[in-house]
Assembly symmetry: C2
Homo-oligomer: 227 residues x 2
């Protein structure tokens, strides 16, 4: 993965907000990277560009040897469906689908181009995140941490090579959060590329390196968090 001199701005009236300023970042296949930094520093924006959810104002985004920021909407959706699993900061579960249906959906979308829909795998992934007694509930009938775990299960549905997560333990207590951290380590040990945003020291220090952000720029230094 190669982010080359990427900027993201938002124009509001006469003002221009800079979410990212000339950011460059290389991540090797199979690496585990944690992105840390203050609120508003550009972490989610960076993740959205890497996941192909948003496009940069200028610069280039290459993932898996392919340039993705110039792909058409259709090609980008197809690429995402098979290459990337994303856990959004606020989950974005489909409110009218049950827990199980939300996890089956990425499989159904991918089956349009040849994948298979596997209920057994969907159930197993939900069991792995401790949610198998809530399969037929709607997102509105779950607690905050339960929704977060369903969002994680959905990101794993197609067993993608790249896993991108934005504060995946933000709504979880220490014990439940510990379970989720173990899951990310297992994904990494299975050879997946894992890129996540976290402000939790435990999780940040499990990654192979840290990328520190401040006011839309990447800072020097990738050592463990100490405070």
């Amino acid at each position: 993965m190669d982010i080359v001199a990427t900027t993201k701005t938002y124009v509001m009236g006469e003002r221009t907000f800079y979410a990212l300023r000339e950011v460059s970042l290389q991540v090797e296949h199979g690496e585990f990277v944690a992105v840390v930094g203050p609120s508003g520093s550009g972490k989610s924006t960076l993740l959205n560009l890497i996941a192909g959810i948003d496009r940069p104002t200028s610069g280039e985004v290459w993932v898996g040897g392919r340039r993705i920021d110039t792909l058409s909407e259709n090609a980008l959706a197809r690429w995402r469906g098979s290459q990337v699993g994303v856990v959004f900061q606020f989950f974005q579960l489909l409110p009218t689908l049950t827990v199980l249906e939300n996890v089956l959906l990425p499989m159904q979308l991918r089956s349009l181009w040849g994948g298979s829909v596997d209920r057994g795998r969907a159930g197993a992934v939900l069991e792995r995140v401790g949610m198998s007694s809530h399969l037929h509930k709607l997102p509105s009938e779950l607690s905050g941490g339960e929704r977060q775990r369903v969002a994680l299960a959905r990101a794993l549905a197609n067993d993608p090579p790249i896993l991108i997560a934005d504060e995946p333990t933000g709504n979880l207590d220490t014990a439940t959060g510990g379970d989720v951290i173990r899951l990310f380590r297992e994904q990494h040990e299975a050879g997946k590329t894992v890129i996540l945003v976290t402000h939790e020291r435990r999780l940040a220090n499990v990654a192979s390196r840290r990328v520190r952000m401040l006011d839309g720029r990447i800072q020097a230094g990738d050592g463990p968090l100490t405070e």
Copy 2:
């Protein structure tokens, strides 16, 4: 505040989910209480009953010498508007109102019964949470942590005697979270009653006591968190 043998259940087909089971809890005026416990243990459900956002299946909820679970919708909304400030676990900012408008709204609602709308105070509260350079943005134009801080500012708009917050630092980095913790301490030192859910040890241990929940019940012991 007095919660008396309160149960909350959800019936789904033949199954009944117990979110709270015969919970009793007393909180003195001016106390600072932190509610902790695993994901799905009933923390948000308890807070929603105390804040008058939801009603129990059985039991009684008394706040400030008044029984609130039997109030009419109108009376409950009026009571909430002047007595309680709530920071929801997922913010619930109004998407079509700007940051400043979201904070002015509780004042405007209260002015129906005699309060005043004070733009100066709204600006000051937003300054206090570090959001004064985003006043005219919509919630969709903010980062996760920025939205959380706007939700906190809104809860303080009417300077209520009771402040209820559900994971108020869940989306914040250590430094920004530290600022928010200081704000809760200031509210407590000013004589407000503060009841919040958190899984963050720092914040839980700043409270005067902790209430531990598990599977819808309150556990014994209110000492500091150690792990």
